[in-house]
Amino acid sequence: MDLTPSAEQEAFLTATSDWCRDAMPIEAARARPANLWQQLEAMGLTGISAPEAQGGMGLEFGTEALVFAELGRHLAPIALISTAVVRHSTDHAAKAGLTLAGAGAVRLLDARDAGIALGVRDGRVATFDVPAGLTWGVAIDQTVPLARVAPSPDGSDISAPRAALHLQLLAAAFALGAADLARDMAADYAKVREQFDRPIGWFQAIKHICADMAVRCAVARSQLYYAACALDAGTGDAAFHVAAAKRLADRAALDNGRANIQVHGGIGMTDEAYAHLPLKRAHLLGFIAPVSSSDLLTPELEPA
């Protein structure tokens, strides 16, 4: 039992973090460079858990989840999640967008330049062809290109049994990243913004909001690590642990996203500041591989 990242994982994480800071600054989240996807591919970040025979790194879900939390903290392209699942479980080696089936329409997320998109249908994970000639706008999360299409015909099911959990795990990692980002933005701002002749982080009213943000992140991060290890080990309760990780990360992302705006005060309400970005990302992720109460209540668990 060891739930701290290994030296290799730490090194991978540091390299990712350094690269993200340069390649994906938050200030440029709404207008990413056109060749960002190619850069992500060149870094190997689109195939961390994909088999080496497929051009991937063949690493375990644990490492991928760690790195995805870091990518999520920089509001990385949402299609990284779907592409990782597709590359792990099929022989499709290129970018895959995401589909969200809703009432009357299917939403295609970040599927530009992608031949296929990944979605969940009746609890099964499937890929769908992306129609040509779509009109792209942006989602509430302004980093995500969005197109709406009519309910799609048949897709092809992914037979890998863990694909749905893989998708949920990586969405959880991205949500944790959004929660981390909101916490850091709030804490950094509380250190420099002064009111009543003091940094506002001096006041317990602000300090305790920030502390609660840190608690939510620590809780969600711990469960993410455990869930990733359970998925790697193929334990019988892996589905529960992944669902728990997604639920806690979603809650952390939403609650921290809201708290971050409050800590920023008036400026937090503006479009020009960035406090709304992690909140909007949190709302979007809440619809990707969502967790219901019965997902958490139904499985029989042995306590401890």
Partner: protein, 383 residues
Amino acid sequence: MEIGFSSEERQFREQCRDWLHANVPAERRPMDAIDAIDFDKAWQRTLFDAGWAGINWPVDYGGRGLSIVQQVIWLEEYARAHAPWIGANFVGVNHGGPTLIANATDEQKAYHLPRILKGEAIWCQGFSEPGAGSDLAGIRTTGRVEGDELVVNGSKIWTSFAHVADWQELVIRTEPGSSRHKGLSWVICDMHSPGITIRPIRKISGQTEFAQVFYDDVRIPLANVVGGLGNGWRVSMSTLGFERGTGFIADQVKNAIEVEELIGRARANGMIRDDRIADDLAQMRAEVAALRAMTYRNISEVIRTGQPGPESSVIRLFTSELGQRIERMAVTLMGEAMIDFAYGDDDAVADYLRGFAATIAGGTAQIQRDIIGERLLGLPKSR
């Protein structure tokens, strides 16, 4: 990162489980401290005789010298077996003992540690004062050096098990005129010394588990100072981080078991059909899983670096508030039956009421938030 246990550890878990299955007492632990004292001492002795006390304590002082992971496994199996709370032995086993291991002289360790493990000596904690609860540096009880003795005057409060204790980990101001963290000393106080008066305090749940203690010219040999005169703050802090990280494992497993029981009860009485209750229970199930993961992370950190990570305060805060929400859910599921409680012995209502202590004792939830804000996030110190 991996969540598996070695074959040796799995074997150890089987041994714990088998012994507990055969030896956990069938009768309930009495709820009041006075009534429970004989039970607590006998159970601790039983644990010691079978080799389950002090699993990661040094062999020289009666422990087993095993790993922290084995200690964790034992605590998990202990809670899972519904073994009784160690009650009056809590301070000695979880706080006083570890503090002595880290800071005491060989003589102090040789005398006290085996007595703690055998259940022969009950310890209590003398930190909080009427004017200084969470503000530990605000201590005013004094110890005047006179020859080779300290003469102690003042008062301590919220002292759990004071009225049944033999020894006390007592923090006092030994340098006249000193303030805050400076000039404090951590001493071993004999609770049977002349000049000590104990006034038990009844809790909102009806039990008298804690007390106020008055010191009127109480004489304590200088040989009972641990870690040197004036080093009380450092000695007091030395075990708090560890305590915050692993001192709550039993609570954590108890919480997990309780959430399972609450889900079963909500199904049985139909309240699970209330979406809000179902959602709260689902959230709690996810949170108790996360708490275990967080504790494992903290223990991994101890194994890797020798000390718990800075997130110990997060564990402390999260455990206490999660526990309170679970206790509140238990009385919610009882419905109006909870009003039948009249200082009676309904466990759910008593746990709910005395559970309010969890976010007050050992530094309030607000103090924990200050620590998290300042040490984890680097926000400016407001005290």
